[in-house]
């Protein structure tokens, strides 16, 4: 039996010592040092390969074999240890990076729409689904379009219904309602049918208060065709109201008077805040007055370019600010043009 050469013993010792040392290594830097010392070019193990010629020829294969084994063992151990060290390092890093997640976030600046724009868009969208398109018209209007063509001649008692702002010059007013737009929209379409919504700013000489403004938006809905009935008006407006407020909301119509419609009605919606029991929003009545409406008056149809013996139509008008006030329980109509940032910011 050939005696174990010295060098093999030494290699085995180096291996044991190195593995022992490796087990204690906890970080990447020490790991690299260990690699340099144990497996580097000038390390004891590696020098066995370069000095192999110093050993007797017959022992060289054995020495080479053992040295290779040692090298492989150490390399494998290094890889394993490296995995462990990396994992530990990640865990440590995660630990060190822990945040107080309850600290407030950094908010980017955000823009917002004015609440009137928001409610108008909602109304546009609902009517668009029913084939109604938006027509807009001017603010400073002639007496002819604001009154005369709408069946409101001068000194008609109905003129009391609007406290009008008159503009310097003859027969010019700030439009008191969006109804002049009816004539424009009908004349554009007649004799083809019309389905239009007419939003716009209106003006009335009022004492400004929490309930009334001198300037306010109005939105009218008109449909004209050969087969349009009061029933269609009910169906269309009820459909709108159910989409706007609540799918089960109850409505009622009660007679009213507008010079440009006949029959005329007011539509009330059962108060969606209290469900009709009576609350501060509906002032105890259980009903919310939501819009005026009616079948288009023959004179208005005629002025719009439709033969009233063949065509019929309906019109309805509502106040977007009022709807916004009801939807969001806004207490004071002056907030809309006041534009206090503390009000506007709530409409995110």
């Amino acid at each position: 039996m050939i005696e174990k050469p010295m060098i093999i013993q030494e290699l085995e010792e180096i291996q044991d010592t190195a593995l022992e040392a490796l087990k204690k290594i906890e970080n990447e830097e020490a790991l690299q040092n260990w690699r340099r010392d144990i497996l580097g070019r000038s390390s004891a193990v590696m020098s066995v390969f370069s000095n192999i010629s110093q050993h007797p020829k017959e022992l060289r294969p054995l020495i080479g074999q053992v040295a290779n084994q040692v090298k492989q063992t150490l390399e494998t151990a290094l890889l394993d240890r490296s995995e462990i060290v990396k994992e530990a390092a990640i865990l440590q890093k995660l630990q060190d990076e822990k945040l107080d997640v309850t600290l407030p976030g950094r908010r980017p600046v955000t823009g917002r729409y004015h609440p009137v724009s928001t409610v108008l868009r909602r109304i546009y969208a609902i009517f668009a689904d029913m084939g109604f398109q938006v027509h807009r018209s001017r603010d400073v209007e002639s007496d002819l379009f604001n009154f005369e063509l709408l069946n409101i001649p001068a000194y008609h008692p109905a003129r009391d219904m609007w406290d009008t702002f008159y503009v310097e010059g003859e027969g010019v007013v700030l439009k008191t309602h969006t109804s002049p737009g009816q004539i424009y929209a009908m004349r554009k379409n007649a004799p083809k049918p019309t389905r239009a919504i007419l939003p716009g700013m209106c003006y009335r000489y009022e004492q400004i208060s929490a309930r009334s403004e001198i300037q306010f938006n109005q939105l009218e809905v008109i449909a004209v065709g050969k087969n349009i009935t009061f029933g269609d008006m009910k169906g269309t407006l009820n459909g709108f109201v159910r989409r706007l407020f609540d799918k089960d909301v109850r409505t009622r119509l009660r007679p009213s008077y507008f010079p440009f419609t006949e029959p005329s009605a007011e539509m009330d919606v059962e108060c969606f805040v209290c469900g009709g029991k009576g609350c501060s929003v509906c002032k105890g009545s259980g009903w919310l007055e939501i819009m005026g409406c009616g079948m288009m008056h023959p004179v208005v149809l005629q002025n719009g370019g439709y033969d009233p013996t063949i065509y019929s139509g309906f019109a309805a008008g509502m106040g977007p600010e009022r709807i916004s006030m009801l939807l969001h329980k806004i207490e004071d109509i002056r907030y809309f043009w006041g534009n206090d940032i503390r009000f506007l910011e709530q409409f995110r």
Binding site: P104, R106, R107, T110, G111, R112, Y113, H114, S117, G131, Q133, V134, H135, R138, D139, V140, E141, Y155, P157, F165, Y166, E168, E170, G171, V172, L174, N189, P193, Y205, I214, A223, G225, N227, T229, F230, G231, D232, K234, T236, N238, L253, R254, P255, S256, E262, P263, S264, G278, K283, M295, P298, T309, S312, F336, W337, G338, N339, D340, I341, L344
Partner: protein, 844 residues
């Protein structure tokens, strides 16, 4: 219109609960705004009620009719009396200070006894001595040594009116011991009368609507004319100058009537209906006006005779002459114009027709003989007169909306009868009736198809006729149509197509809107078109909101002074044409704005102390008068105003940079880019509102679309801002929208890698940076797809009047990979061009 329930019940048997009655009234178009209970029970708190209820309930065991049999002096107090009173359950002594019992004091037992409203111990009523209506409970107390635990009541204490001068003295017939609520408990409905339903500003009118809605019979009051008495003929004459102004003028005559107090029930009704009782003569005219809707006027006949020199007077109606004078019965001398219709006699004006009587011929306590006028007037003239003179009377209210002439004689007859019942006297036989222009009461043919076309439901002719007959139309029923003749009591029914619409409304109203079917629109869909102008406006809003701006909506009415704040004080323009109001509600809202920026800036100022970052925009019209045109131009503008910090601060980012010119420019660049507008040029510009060195205009092609910059320090002084810089922009939205391309084409994602290269050059300070960028792009052509300035640098080393600009360029060939030789060549070409054209020097 205030409608006492008890009065209504004179003309229709109706026994609905108050709330149900209010609902029926509302559903026929007589909207009930509130119900004032006067004795009747109020609905309980938890009962759902749709109407506003107010008032006092008189429980039957606490309030009764009682009789005072003797009024005795109080032993210790002159101003108090002791009443021996019987409340039906026995005799007791009640203490009172009512002055209207003093005449009976110490007169011994009274025959007949005085009937009063008596409240027992524990009754809750209004405190007569406190202002307003404050509830109090009757408790046992000793007043001046006499036990007091109950009281005889005034109207105020019972909630009938504000009257507290004395106690109520009931009519003699009132049954002692009857609960007061049964004797005169009432409720007053406050009803809004629609402009086309002026016929219902009357108790009979409302009863007629209720009759139509419920099917209960209507009992119309008619005077029982006696067969004998003196004849009116020859006692007065009438001359109508213009029948268009005065279609009918009728007179009745009653002599020896006494202007004494009306019976208590009449006074109470008038008070509940909102009128002040005066005497039997005046009360009867007011009563009949409220009853029938026809305003009447009573003249003192003797004064007319005197004015006519002792002869029978001749009444002449005519238009007033310009500047003619009349003193009305409110003792104001009125200067008239030719729109006013006058009732005159041979001696001159007597009254403003349909509006107000004259002072001279008014009823006085000495009046005994009455000439009673019932007439009808052109509503437009009445309206012009009451508007011009600011005279609001009950007569003017009705006549200015149109009263049917047929009502005149009916009302005169009723009034003469009432006047005689309440004030005595002799009614003369017949009326003097001048009726030159009876209106045509339209007769309308209405088919089942007409109704179906408008209402979407077939109503048989019988049912249509039934509804209209209840409203007093005379109807002929045919196979599939009716012919309906308008009753002579309303002027709101037209002819032909309008008349049909009017009748359809009447049918729908009584049939009830809520019984009509609900259907889906089945008519042809109109041609569908886009509203590009609105859609682009909304898109611009979306972009601005996404860029962190807050939308505002401002007043379009402003004042010139407010708009002039936008200019330095010494440079404010003074002669710009404005759309001006004739009747502004306030000086600060007297004109339509010419500047949207001015409106938005006001809002920025208002919020300047509330937040440290503010960025507002609005899209809305401005108003520019056009020479020779009736109506102004109303172009839309976009205004932006910003100030303060760039971003929100946070706990770990306590500081933020303040916004400057380039934050505004960046927003505008992003906006225009998002709208796919290229070829945008920013040029230095000047404007009186802007900092001269920090102002630019935006040009797209040849069009100037807007201006932006930092507010001029002198302008900023006009506002309350704490921040150093206020950035503003105003864009012409109409021009901008017209330039936005309808669509854009995308570019394919490049297959070959881009080459990125930076260059830094030194050039003269005066050369604007956009020329450098433009030159790089021009030189590089299609290969250069992006040029971005990433640094601007100045230093002594670079030299006075010089700046260094550093650009990052992207070369992007479309069909090959760019090699080093090619990119170097391109770079050299660009550098050479910059050196040659701009005198640039490459920075080492």
């Amino acid at each position: 219109m205030l409608l006492p329930l008890s009065w209504l019940k004179d003309y229709i048997d109706i026994n609905l609960p108050l709330q149900e009655l209010a609902r029926v009234l509302t559903m026929v178009g007589l909207e009930v705004d509130g119900i004032q209970v006067v004795g009747l029970p109020l609905p309980s708190e938890d009962e759902k009620h749709e109407f506003k209820f107010e008032g006092l309930h008189w429980p039957a065991d606490k309030f009764v009719v009682a009789q005072i049999d003797e009024v005795m002096p109080h032993p210790d107090a002159d101003r108090l009396t002791l009443c021996r009173l019987n409340d039906g359950s026995g005799e007791l002594i009640v203490l009172t200070g009512a002055p209207n019992l003093f005449p009976y004091k110490g007169k011994g037992p009274l025959t007949p006894s005085i009937k009063v409203a008596y409240a027992r111990e524990g009754a809750v009523l209004y405190d007569g001595h406190k202002p307003g209506f404050v509830l109090t409970k009757l408790k046992r107390a000793k007043i001046r040594g006499i036990d007091s635990f109950s009281m005889v009541c005034s109207e105020k204490e019972l909630g009938i009116s504000e009257e507290h001068e004395g106690i109520i003295i009931l009519d003699m017939e009132a049954p002692t011991g009857m609960p007061l609520v049964d004797y005169m408990g009432d409720a007053v409905f406050e009803i809004s009368i629609l402009p086309n339903m002026i016929r219902d500003a009357s108790v009979v009118g409302i009863a007629r609507e209720l009759s139509a809605a419920t099917g209960r019979a209507l009992k119309i009051p008619v005077r029982q004319v006696p067969s004998s008495g003196p004849d009116i003929t020859g006692n007065a004459f009438v001359e109508i100058r213009d029948p268009a102004l005065n279609p009918r003028f009728a007179l009745g005559l009653i002599k020896s009537v006494e202007p004494k107090e009306s019976p208590y029930w009449v006074q109470r009704r008038l008070r509940l209906a909102g009128m002040r009782p005066i005497n039997a003569i005046v009360d009867s005219t007011n009563y009949v006006m409220l009853e029938t809707g026809e305003p009447l006027h009573a003249f003192d006949y003797d004064i007319l005779v005197k004015r006519a020199g002792g002869k029978a007077p001749t009444i002449i109606t005519r238009a007033a002459t310009e500047g003619e004078l009349l003193t009305t019965l409110d003792n104001v001398e009125r200067k008239l114009d030719s729109n006013t219709i006058l009732v005159t006699d041979t001696a001159g004006p007597l009254s403003l027709a349909g509006v107000m009587g004259g002072l001279e011929s008014e009823i006085t306590p000495e009046t005994r003989n009455i000439l009673l006028e019932g007439a009808s007037w052109n509503f437009i003239n009445v309206r012009k007169t009451s508007t011009r003179l600011h005279l609001n009377s009950e007569a003017g209210y009705r006549f200015s909306r149109g009263v049917h002439p047929a009502l005149a004689t009916w009302a005169i007859d009723l009034c003469l009868e009432r006047m005689q019942q309440w004030g005595g006297g002799t009614i003369y036989q017949g009326l003097i009736d001048n009726y030159p222009q009876p209106p045509v009461d339209p007769e309308i043919k209405l088919t089942v198809a007409d109704v179906k076309r408008k209402l979407g439901i077939e109503i048989p002719p019988q049912q249509m006729a039934e509804i209209l007959t209840r409203l007093e139309f005379e109807c002929q029923i045919k196979e599939d149509f009716i012919i309906a003749k308008t009753p002579p009591l309303r002027l709101d029914i037209g002819t032909d197509e309008i008349g049909k619409a009017d009748l359809i409304e009447e049918i729908a109203r009584i049939y009830s809107y809520n019984n009509l079917p609900e259907t889906d629109l089945a008519d042809d869909l109109p041609p569908q078109r886009n509203n590009a102008s609105l859609e682009l406006e909304e898109k611009i809003k979306d972009i601005l909101v996404s860029l962190g701006l807050q939308e505002v909506n401002t007043y379009r009415l402003t004042s010139i002074e407010r708009e002039n704040r936008l200019f330095p004080k010494d440079l404010a323009p003074d002669l710009q044409p404005y759309v001006r109001l004739k009747n502004p509600s306030a000086p600060e809202r007297a004109v339509m704005r010419r500047s949207l920026l001015s409106s938005v800036l006001e809002i920025l100022e208002k919020n300047s102390r509330l937040r440290d970052r503010l960025a507002f925009f609005e899209i809305a019209p401005i108003f520019l008068p056009v020479q020779g045109e009736l109506l102004p131009n109303e172009p839309r503008r976009l205004a932006i105003a910003m100030t303060g910090k760039v971003e929100n601060t946070a706990w770990d980012l306590p500081e933020s940079r303040l916004m400057n010119f380039f934050d505004m420019k960046g927003i505008l660049e992003s906006l225009l880019q998002a709208l796919h507008l290229d070829q945008v040029v920013y040029e230095p510009a000047t404007n009186n509102s802007m900092h001269p060195g920090k102002c630019a205009q935006i040009k797209i092609g040849e069009q100037i679309v807007g201006l932006f910059g930092e507010l001029h320090p002198k302008v900023k002084e006009n506002y309350d801002f704490l921040t150093p810089a206020v950035l503003v922009a105003e864009l012409d939205l109409e021009t901008l929208i017209a330039l936005i391309p309808a669509r854009f084409e995308s570019i394919s994602v490049p297959v070959f890698p881009p080459v990125l290269e930076d260059i830094a050059i030194i050039i003269d300070e005066e050369i604007p940076s956009d020329r450098v960028e433009a030159l790089i792009r021009q030189t590089g052509g299609k290969l250069v797809t992006d040029v971005r300035l990433f640094d601007v640098f100045r230093s002594e080393q670079i030299g006075q009047g010089k700046k260094s600009l550093a650009y990052s360029m992207t070369y992007q060939p479309q069909d090959h990979t760019m090699g080093a030789t090619e990119s170097t060549a391109l770079r050299n070409k660009i550098v050479k061009r910059l050196e040659r054209d701009l005198g640039a020097r490459l920075r080492g």
